[in-house]
Symmetry: C2
Subunit: 284 residues, 2 copies
């Protein structure tokens, strides 16, 4: 942020412009999860994916998914231009984490946005499903996703949450809303539903079609430990492998810190009939 | 998101727990920009930084900054455990983009959060300055950063913005606020100020100290092209290098789409005395 390096970006920007400038392409298209202007990975009409990365001096390049496709690695072939290319089998539609192995080292694909999953920032590919558009931005009223920090007495730390407020929240000033607490899966955090999960568009569309009541959705991080728990954490030599301590304080954070703060801050319907919890994997 | 791979995360979680569980360390500490639990990069008391990455089968590993430190690369040394380590010269405090070169291929450091900069997702390191805490979360009232999508007639696309609303925005229902339009630098986008720029904490602290009036801050992306401009973009063989077309529609987006939408959606003071624009590099 602190540096002026505009000149150094020219090649990047030109490359992006060039990519977007090409005329109509065959049926394969850049993945919607790519960074602006990146032509690869590309998704074919039959849902195979072609990955591509520039690595002129690498000896071996492979691509592979995480927790999907059986851990298979797709070996890439090097072209004379220094780009390595690999095409996968047909993929299941949906969002998949993936990575590149450069001479055996697992790294991210610079052509992809990164998402917090697998315990770190990871490349992800969104493989669209034909005729399915419930998670895309449409011509409907849009809500907001609000980033808020609050102090937890339980963990003695500042914690970040994301809160979806439905369309009209700011103008319907007397309306109160039910609240859904929506949890991410293992290795993800509070960013998973707003980013890779596209919770805003999904709710906007469901509410517009009257398939869901306007509601508030709260997204927290499932990892929460009491300050004193650190010393007895798993992995420490000689310590018991008490895995649950990584998120052992989460219930207390929810009940004592998060829910009271949400009910005091947003126009919720603060009773048990209007409060729900859902999630996937460790959030389920 | 769609997969249950909880079991596969155990090693990651255990590593994170182990890292956090260690007793008091010497003066060097993990960078605040690291992912949860990552011990490296570490910042020394004299503001040198030690980078470390596991790459047992790599032949050569280097670390280097982007647009800072003269483009110098720090060669890393391989240990018997397969980890490569390099320590930099003394760094200037602040936020710096950096990358790892694995056998010459530029990639991100898995120990770091990534930030959209340099035209893609990039590792970043926050080097704290002694006695400087204006960008840290403090015991003051906190505002929100709201993610909003709107449709631009100029670009014919959905665009994402981030809007900082000051503490009390929801409760002081009649108050109107001045608006600052705050732009990122080249190669960054609308995420730069909310994430690496920590605009929320900075404004919260300034407002609490009465060094700034409560205000709304709007963060948009400077890259904006008219639909028809694509074919004449720079980088295309034979086309003129009309670099400005990458952001040539931004002024029109601001004046015709963004400012009217902001004034209609938020409680702004919609006159020129209460509207300002600032930014760095291409936002300045």
């Amino acid at each position: 942020m602190s540096n002026v390096w505009f000149a150094g970006l020219l090649p990047l920007l030109l490359a992006a412009a060039s990519a977007q400038a090409e005329d109509s392409k065959p049926a394969d298209t850049p993945a919607p999860s790519n960074i602006r202007g990146a032509e690869y990975p590309r998704i074919h009409a039959d849902l195979r994916v072609t990955f591509r990365i520039k690595a002129p001096s690498a000896q071996k390049v492979e691509f592979g998914f995480f927790g999907f496709d059986g851990g298979k690695r797709y070996p890439a072939k090097k072209g004379e231009d220094g780009f390595w290319t690999a095409t996968t089998d047909k993929l299941a539609p949906g969002f998949h984490y993936y990575r590149v192995f450069i001479d055996g080292v697992e790294v991210n694909d610079p052509g992809s946005e990164t998402f917090f999953g697998t315990g770190k920032q990871t490349s992800g590919i969104e493989v669209p499903e034909k005729g399915v558009d419930y998670y895309l931005p449409k011509e409907v009223p849009h809500g907001e996703i609000r980033e808020r920090w609050y102090h937890s007495k339980t963990t003695q730390q500042w914690r970040r949450i994301f809160v979806y407020t439905p369309p009209g929240y700011d103008t319907h000033r007397e309306t109160r809303y039910p609240v859904l607490y929506l949890q991410h899966g293992g290795g993800e955090d509070e960013r998973a539903w707003p980013n890779q999960g596209r919770v805003g568009f999904i709710l906007d569309n469901l509410i517009a079609e009257r398939k869901a009541k306007p509601m508030i959705v709260v997204m927290e991080c499932g990892y929460a430990r009491r300050p004193g728990d650190a010393a007895a954490a798993p992995g420490r030599p000689g310590a018991p492998r008490d895995f649950s301590r990584l998120f052992g304080a989460f219930e207390e954070v929810m009940v004592k810190d998060l829910i009271p703060m949400i009910d005091a801050t947003y126009r919720t319907l603060p009773d048990r009939e209007n409060r729900a919890m859902a999630g996937l994997s460790m959030g389920g």
